[in-house]
């Protein structure tokens, strides 16, 4: 498991260049102070701390970075970017890695993707997100039937859970078309939508 990393074999300079191009960040300016990790509110759920993700990118260790759980657990709160002494938008690097992983078909934390796709499905169907719809779709996809049922009574009593979706006047079609074109283009370009 923890055998040495064969850098001749595993180092992928094209990966470093791709991450830098897509994120717009120069990862070589990272000097591994760890400030991103120090302030990360999601760090406890990471398998690799964010500073080690940055290190992995610097070394071009494409596979270990793109298969990490961390890139899926990032909250996108940008605390890391705010406090980086080298002005690196670390959150943008994390997001880039997530996009790259998805497009390559690596989904290390499937429930996160299932949640996002459930959410986006309601947007596609109704034009606006719908909490109960998202929950229902997510429960079906993830087989987590009891997620947050403890909250439902309060939420319903307080009138905070609209049972029916809220569709914009004029309908949801224009939004559905955006999704449609997005999917078609992804297929044309050979990436996972």
């Amino acid at each position: 498991m923890n055998d040495h990393i064969d850098l001749n074999r595993l180092r992928d300079p094209s990966f470093i260049a791709a991450v830098e191009a897509q994120s717009g960040q120069n990862v070589s300016t990272c000097y591994q102070c760890g400030n991103c990790t120090a302030g990360c509110p999601a760090g406890f759920a990471y398998d690799m701390p964010v500073s080690q993700i940055m290190r992995g990118v610097q070394l071009g260790l494409r596979d270990s970075v793109l298969h990490s759980r961390s890139i899926w657990m990032c909250l996108s709160c940008s605390t890391c970017s705010q406090r980086c002494p080298n002005n690196i938008d670390v959150a943008a690097v994390m997001e880039t890695l997530r996009h790259m992983a998805r497009k390559a078909g690596y989904v290390t934390v499937p429930k996160m993707e299932k949640f996002w796709l459930s959410f986006l499905n309601t947007v596609r169907l109704f034009g606006r997100s719908h909490e109960i719809g998202t929950m229902a779709l997510y429960m079906m996809r993830s087989l987590r039937v009891f997620t947050d049922v403890d909250l439902a009574p309060t939420a319903i009593a307080k009138g905070k859970l609209g049972l029916l979706p809220h569709i914009p006047p004029g309908g949801a079609k224009p939004v559905a078309r955006i999704f449609q074109r997005y999917k078609e283009r992804a297929r044309r370009e050979g990436v996972r939508p």
Partner: protein, 653 residues
């Protein structure tokens, strides 16, 4: 004219990408060139001997060397041709290293460009005339700006060498930052005990004139003959009468004055003597807090003063000093760390700077040397040190390393354990930079003998936990884990920046400074205390981060340069300066206004107004020659005719 050309290989530095033999061969085809060769190392002793031999053998009356930058070896080769009997200004240099071989890899293009540069040098030489340097007297006095340890060392060494010194210090006392320190690394000896005697020597040395509470207002002149105006700020105390008895400071009712010497860790009185060992030991009134000066009523100090030294109506005074050389030793300030809002931005009393911590540890500090929390006066047990706050941090515009924080943090951790044996110190660091003698051993001692917990990583957030302690959110990158510490006191190793006003002083001194306000040395390795302005030298942190030993060494180095300069009774001026053709001058005065050195003055010739160049002041920059509408001013050895000859040679190629 008979010209010899030497195309230097500089080992492989030039020959690696320039065909030197070919350049020499091409040179032989040019007019007046009677000899051209390509030696391996022209600047070496055999190389210079070969030039001398060629001058004799081929009866040369001018020499061109194509090699490195003239900044490097022009003086060397001028001496060479002089030894062989030529005028030292019958020599030209073409820079085919920095300007050619180091910046391009294309052998053919480089060779062509090198040949062109050599051609220009030959054309210039063909129009050169022998020049002779003028000699002028030297004022053998030195101005030292800044009375920190570097300036003190420079002043004492110059004074001991017999040179009168004018020492200007902006604060009320000399001693600088070192005077505020409790102990010094790596020996943990008392800072005041080792600096104190030097400060006393400054006060007592017959060769040293000290102006405290004073700043350099204006500098004019040139090496050997500077005129300096010094502003002595009003202290509202006649120092000729003040005996430093301190009676005034005991009775002053304005007791809430921020104590600058103690880094605002305590308060003092509006009339104050910085600290017991202050030099000069004289009282100073802070006009912002003095009741007499702000409200017009009080006068307690005037009543109490036994010598009648108090002068509420004192004004700033300008004094003028003539000196032959200047040493800048203006030191540093801490950067404004309050930009770190994630550390509270200065709003949490128990998050302090390391310099404040020095004052808390110092027996002469506001707590008498007891380490206590500023918030509640309790003794802290868990102390967190955070390094690199405002160092190596591009996001706050401080990309450089402050150099000595690793060491003083280790020292502070050790001293903390001495002061409070049941305390625990933690140090957040990125790298430990301890390359000095016994330095690394010292940081190891902090860890191994004093139980300091070193944690490799930065701190992201410091905030009060609501229970009277501070939550420190950091990381241990070696473990790859976030860490959290509840601290009683947090000490920030705040990075340094150039002393307030450093760029403005640099402009007065006509020396260069970098992006961060640190003064530029003449050569980063070989001329570390010289500047590009002759006669102005540097010492200490004003040139870049350094610790006490290095600052002292530079102080002595600068003093050696001053003494070396003053070893000559007369200095020679460079004759490559502007010269006025008195017939053509129409006295329009444009040159007078554009000269940055004040080197041109009005004169009269046969009843007509004219201008004249002051030869010792002119730096040969050429601004006047390009400004003169009549072409009446020519820069010797860069005359219009020479430049046109170069252009003609280049354009026909």
């Amino acid at each position: 004219m008979r010209i010899g050309v030497f195309i230097c290989h500089c080992g492989s530095n030039i020959a690696g990408t320039v065909d030197c033999a070919k350049v020499a061969a091409i040179a032989r085809s040019w007019p007046d060139v009677v000899y051209a060769v390509d030696p391996m190392y022209t600047c070496a002793e055999p190389g210079q001997a070969a030039i001398e031999a060629a001058i004799h053998e081929h009866k040369l009356d001018g020499v061109v060397v194509a090699s490195c930058s003239p900044r490097m070896h022009e003086p060397t080769f001028r001496r060479t041709v002089e030894r062989a009997g030529l005028n030292r200004y019958m020599f030209e240099m073409a820079n085919i290293r920095e300007h050619v071989s180091w910046i391009g890899k294309d052998m053919e293009a480089n060779t062509n460009k090198a040949a062109e540069l050599v051609r220009l040098a030959v054309e210039k030489l063909r129009h050169d005339v022998p020049l002779t340097a003028k000699q002028f007297d030297v004022t053998k006095r030195v101005l030292v700006i800044g009375g920190g340890v570097a300036g003190i060392q420079a002043a004492l060494d110059c004074a001991e060498g017999g040179v009168p010194v004018v020492l200007v210090e902006r604060e009320a006392t000399i001693g600088g930052k070192m005077a505020k320190l409790d102990k010094t690394f790596p020996t943990v000896d008392c800072s005041a005990c080792i600096l104190g005697p030097k400060m006393v020597d400054v006060a007592q040395h017959p060769n040293i004139t000290l102006y405290a509470c004073a700043e350099v207002e204006e500098v004019s002149g040139y090496v050997g003959n500077f005129t300096v105006k010094i502003r002595k700020r009003a202290t509202y105390v006649d120092w000729n009468k003040c005996t430093g008895c301190g009676a005034c400071t005991e009775k002053c009712p304005s007791k809430k004055t921020p104590d600058a010497f103690n880094e605002a860790t305590g308060t003092t009185t509006a009339i104050t003597i910085a600290f017991p060992q202050a030099i000069p030991k004289k009282a100073v009134i802070n006009p912002q807090y003095c009741r007499q000066l702000t409200k017009g009523k009080c006068g307690v100090c005037a009543k109490i003063c036994p010598t009648g030294a108090i002068m509420y109506d004192m004004q700033d005074e300008i004094v003028t000093e003539e000196v032959g050389s200047i040493v800048a030793a203006t030191g540093y300030d801490l950067m404004d760390w309050t930009v770190y809002k994630e550390y509270g931005g200065g709003t949490y009393p128990d998050v302090i700077t390391s310099l404040q911590y020095e004052r808390l540890m110092s027996a002469s500090g506001p707590t008498g040397g007891h380490i206590v929390r500023p918030s509640d006066g309790r003794e802290p047990k868990n102390i967190v040190f955070v390094q690199c706050v405002g160092s190596r941090d591009k996001s706050v515009g401080r990309p450089y390393c402050s150099g000595f924080c690793c060491m003083y943090t280790a020292k502070q951790a050790i001293l903390t354990k001495d002061h409070i044996p049941d305390s625990q110190s933690y140090v957040f660091y990125m790298d430990i930079r301890a390359p000095g003698k016994m330095y690394d051993e010292f940081t190891r001692r902090a860890m191994e003998e004093y139980g300091t917990e070193y944690i490799r990583g930065r701190v992201s957030h410091i905030y009060p936990d609501g229970n009277g302690r501070l939550t420190v959110m950091g990381v241990d990158t070696l473990l790859g884990r976030q860490v959290e510490i509840k601290a009683d006191l947090v000490v920030l190793a705040v990075g340094i920046e150039a002393s307030r006003g450093a760029p403005q002083l640099a402009e007065k001194l006509r020396i260069s400074y970098d992006n961060h306000g640190f003064f530029m040395e003449s050569h980063v390795k070989l001329k570390p205390v010289e500047t590009n302005t002759a006669g102005v030298f540097l010492a200490g942190v004003c040139q870049g981060a350094k610790d006490i030993p290095a600052s002292v060494a530079q102080g002595s180095a600068a003093a050696a340069k001053v003494l070396g300069l003053f070893a000559k009774d007369k200095l020679e001026s460079d004759p490559q300066i502007a010269q006025v053709d008195i017939q053509r001058c129409v006295a329009c005065g444009k040159c007078l206004r554009c000269c940055p050195f004040g080197a041109i003055k009005g004169t009269e010739f046969r009843g007509e107004p004219k201008v004249q160049v002051i030869e010792t002041v002119c730096q040969g920059c050429g601004l006047c020659t390009s400004t003169c509408p009549q072409g009446a001013i020519q820069l010797q050895h860069s005359t219009d005719n020479q430049i046109l000859a170069e252009v003609n040679a280049l354009c026909q190629c």
